[in-house]
């Protein structure tokens, strides 16, 4: 099963999700469900979405990422989108994509730093 390959790890009160390089539409939707359920069950406060292995971000994937971040916000959490490749950032901008107001970080390490610095202070 493709969706098995998407790892969702809980680190204290943070959920770390590593996106696979070329997820299909279905596994993206399954992932979204899984994230929201896990957040609810374990009272997770934040989500780090590691997209560093993503080579193509089209408007479908972008919409799901933004939607997920928004749902997490509705549930009282924060999302950091981490590790976007330079070529993906350039392409996404030209395509016209924005990530709504989601927080971004260069990589997972820095995202974790942001989380522990700021989420605790309720930023």
């Amino acid at each position: 099963m493709i969706n098995e390959s998407i790892s969702v790890i809980k680190i204290r009160d943070i959920l770390l999700v590593t996106m696979p390089p070329d997820p299909d539409d279905h596994s993206i939707t399954v992932l979204q469900d899984k994230i929201l359920n896990t957040m609810q069950r374990y009272q997770v406060k934040g989500l780090i979405l590691d997209i560093s292995s993503i080579k193509t971000m089209d408007s479908f994937l972008a919409r799901v990422v933004v939607e997920t971040a928004q749902m997490v916000v509705l549930m009282g959490g924060k999302t950091v989108i981490a590790g976007m490749q330079p070529s993906v950032a350039i392409t996404a901008t030209q395509l016209g994509l924005t990530l709504g107001g989601a927080l971004t970080a260069l990589n997972v390490d820095l995202a974790l730093e942001m989380v522990s610095d700021n989420f605790k202070r309720g930023l």
Binding site: D22, D24, D25, H26, K55, T56, M57, D58, S59, F60, A62, R63, Q85, P86, S87, V88, I90, T91, Q94, L95, G96, L97
Partner: protein, 137 residues
Amino acid sequence: MNEDTRGEVVINNESDIIVVRKKVREAATLLNFSLTDVTRIVTAASELARNVFLYAGSGVMKWQTLKSSNTVGIMLSFKDSGPGITDLELVMNDGYSTSRGLGLGLPGSRRLMDDMEITSQVGKGTTIVVKKWRRCY
């Protein structure tokens, strides 16, 4: 660069969008496009393939390499026998969508590629051809 200079992918279901991305990535990489240009081309292909699947149900993507006197390029065509597009100007507006989409697929793909041509007949189908040339250094 003499073999495999054209090919096609039949689009029948969602997972074929991934096949389109894979084939186009291989072809563009073989043509020595920069990583950023490969990403641009694959992203446009993904948008247009998804449109074929979403709006027409099925169709076919053909790709081929292009040669000019001083550079090379890639041409992708997406052909379907779906409902067609009524207003070609309208669908090129950022944000216009008849589904729950972001409405960036068509206008965004034009921005990512060097050239885009749409032919569409309502009730008959749609063909979209995009091209990208490699920069010469």
